[in-house]
Amino acid sequence: MTGARVLRRVAPQLLTLGAVILLVSVYFPDFYQIVYANDRLVGIPIDVVKRGAPVALLAIGMTLVIATRGIDLSVGAVMAICGATAAWSIDQGFGLWAALGLAGAAGLVCGLWNGILVAFFGIQPIVATLILMVAGRGVAQLITGGTILTFDNEAFAFLGSGAVFGVPVPTLAWILTGILFGLLVRRTALGLLIESIGINLRASTLTGINSRVLLLAVYMGSGFCAALAGIIATADIRGADANNAGLWLELDAILAVVIGGNSLLGGRFSILASLLGAMIIQTINTGILLAGFPPEFNLVIKAVLVIIILVLQSPRLLPRLGFIRLRRERDEKPSGTPVEAGK
């Protein structure tokens, strides 16, 4: 795709992100302030791109899975498994690289399991991945022995809280992974083939596309992204918390993909738009923390904002909103844009 087409595709997400940032900065005017301190950039936007890393990483894999008309509910549990694997390896003294390798392998194996259930046994993706979603935390607890498995390894902890040229490592991780996956699907024919099986699996198979292998690859990609997210989450708190690592993040990842304008019915997808979706969610999360409302309101505020965003992005609603606005202008009433009205 050319630059202009990409820009047109992600324009709604960019506008939404802008609107959300604007909203947060109303409550917290210092939002834009970024300073360089302790060899790293410090500021709220930096917190957003750092804290959003797990959901952003999950959203990359989730985008591809959803493009095949699937869904991967297990990514949160896979995060816990991979984080536990990494922490266990460090604890056993295998060293950094072995820990990363084992965690990545665990993610790929989890993805392979999901992929086999979906591609070879024909189980519906939501059911197939639900199995690991439920069982995965048990597996993670077996690895950690039911406790928060802490470790002392500065090199590994650097992946969660370190910074390169002032940029937090988790941020670099999702940006680089996003670029890597983006190139992988768009510089090869993978993207086209994935979209094809997502739109019409039967016709694609009759066209000679190896849909089974493709499905396996997509779920393994999702598992790998979950492994990266699990490594970062574990490194961040210097411990593997099997109960809570990645808990409910699969839902945020799906939400990020949806806010990114990707259809849950499969087909056309944009990883960039999903990543913007993840940043929109994180900006809302961080904004809620900064705003200082009582925590009882957290979920309500988030839900209301998400509903507004999704309604505004709804293809059915957009023409109607345009119509309403036109009519208002005709009636010469004080008119506001839909976004402002939504606030």
Partner: protein, 501 residues
């Protein structure tokens, strides 16, 4: 008249599904509705039962105009329907299924005993021995059909529509069902029967109505029609019609390049058959709906892999375990149902055209963007695909243009053997002619083609020889001067041994 339609018309975008159809059903008759795929049978049924809203025309029930808005309303008027897949709830008991929605109540609660009694009463006279307390799925499909019929008769009681009720029954079960239908006829119900098994149609029907391309073709007493005449009516050719000019020489030199299929078949789909495909040859395949035409094509392409037989060419065995291997062997297949099996609707014309070639190259070797554009433009021009540009989603094109896109997709892979299943169905006349011309073009370049079509004229015009399929067997192969509508119809109709040599 019990149920009539007058000038019933229904259009869908791009096609006229029913064109001023008149239809009359008498009380106490079994009236079969016949026609090939797309003839308008199911549209007619759906208009009668309120599943579709008609565009114009009248439906008369005992002379009174009706317009049911839903199947429920049609049921209340007196028109009940039983489909091939029984529309009941298999995990409820027979009694619950029979009485669902009108269970006998006592003090507002369902009374199991009254419900059982009512269910047993409803099933009385159907000659089935059923414990109504057992769940429906413990019984065979035939019994489930009869339960569905009993329910429909109880609720409606005047008109019963049976849509392919025998498709999944064995012969003993068919007999059981026919006994029930015979009884209902005696009780004065009007029964509309749809089946593609002609033997059964002749056995049970009093009256036959043939539809073709949405038009009413003929209504005759069943006793006055013979098999050949019926098939001719369905396929749309008069026996005494002038032989169309065959534009192709009937001789193809038997080079060593032939692909030889020996005894390939698949149980339950198509009986083992032999087929030799020569270079530059067009083979036609004729047969009625459900005869095994499409199944033959799917076995040849590996879409449903053969469970018997071998395939060889000059280089040895050919692997047809799945479509991918078939494509690697130079095969291509444009399926009958373009929407579900052919196009990838949301992808662009360009992407649809390059898709098969890209799949064969593998994901790691993408076709460069410029090359994709060039190929798309080339085929859009060569096949005259009407699209504003190559980036338009193919689902937005008309049927004929979608078919051309699928042909382009396969031509781009430069296949040696191209299988076309009903390539001209549902497309306009102009595109029709263009596709036939295209077939001649590519054959001249040495490609081999298998064409499946219900339109005999078309088959005769393009084919060097014609294979006739009946009851899941390849029953006859016609070559040279034998390829005429008459010989084909006779081969399709022949109940058994009188097959044409």
């Amino acid at each position: 008249m019990l149920l009539s339609t007058r000038n019933l018309t229904k259009t869908f975008p791009g096609t006229k599904a029913l064109d001023s159809v008149d239809f009359d059903l008498k009380a106490g008759e079994v009236h079969s509705l016949l026609g090939e795929n797309g003839a308008g049978k199911s549209t007619l049924i759906k208009c009668l039962t309120g599943a579709y809203r008609r565009d114009s025309g009248d439906i008369l029930f005992e002379g009174e105009p009706i317009s049911p808005q839903s199947t429920l309303e049609a049921q209340e008027i007196g028109i009940g329907t039983v489909y091939q897949e029984v529309n009941l709830l298999p995990n409820l008991t027979v009694a619950e299924n029979l009485t669902l929605g009108h269970q006998p109540r006592r003090f507002g609660m369902i009374s199991p005993r009254a419900m059982q009694a009512q269910a047993e009463e409803m099933l009385a006279g159907y000659g089935v021995d059923v414990d109504v307390r057992r769940s429906l799925d413990t019984y065979s499909v035939a019994v489930q059909q009869i339960v569905a019929i009993a329910r429909a008769v109880h609720l409606s009681g005047r008109v019963l529509i049976l849509d392919e009720p025998t498709a999944s029954l064995d012969s003993r079960e068919v007999r059981m069902l026919f006994d029930v239908i015979g009884d209902l006829r005696k009780r004065g119900l009007g029964i509309i029967f749809i089946s593609h098994f002609l033997d059964q149609v002749f056995e049970i029907s009093d009256t036959l109505t043939v539809l073709r391309n949405g038009c009413h073709i003929a209504t005759r007493p069943a006793a006055e029609v013979d098999r050949m005449e019926l098939i001719t009516l369905m396929l749309g050719h008069e026996l005494d019609e002038e032989k169309p000019d065959r534009g192709l020489s009937s001789e193809v030199e038997g080079t060593g390049d032939a692909i030889r299929f020996k005894g390939i078949g698949r149980r339950g789909k198509i009986a083992p058959f032999d087929l030799t495909v020569h270079k530059g040859e067009v083979i036609g395949m004729a047969g009625l709906l459900g005869s095994g035409r499409t199944e033959s094509a799917e076995v040849l392409f590996g879409a449903t892999p053969a469970d018997s037989g071998t395939v060889e060419d000059a280089n040895g065995a050919v692997d047809l375990r799945n479509p991918r291997n078939a494509i690697a062997a130079g095969f291509a297949f444009a399926p009958e149902d373009r929407k579900t099996d052919g196009i990838i609707a949301e992808l662009s014309v360009r992407e649809n055209i390059i898709l098969a070639l890209q799949a064969r190259r593998g994901w790691a070797r993408p076709i460069p963007q410029a090359e994709q554009m060039r190929m798309a433009d080339e085929y859009i021009e060569r096949l005259d695909i009407r699209t504003p540009d190559a980036e338009k989603p193919v689902g937005l094109l008309s049927g004929g243009n979608q078919q051309k896109v699928i042909l382009a997709r396969w031509l781009a892979t430069n296949p040696r053997f191209l299988i076309l299943d009903e390539p001209t169905r549902g497309i306009d006349v102009g595109a029709h002619a263009e596709i036939l011309r295209l077939i001649e073009d590519v054959v001249a370049q040495g490609m081999s083609i298998l064409v499946i079509s219900s339109e005999l004229d078309e088959l005769i015009a393009v084919s060097h020889r014609v294979i006739v399929v009946r009851d899941r067997h390849h029953v006859s192969e016609l070559t040279g001067a034998d390829v005429t509508t008459e010989t084909i119809v006779r081969a399709i109709a022949a109940p058994d041994a009188e097959a044409v040599a």
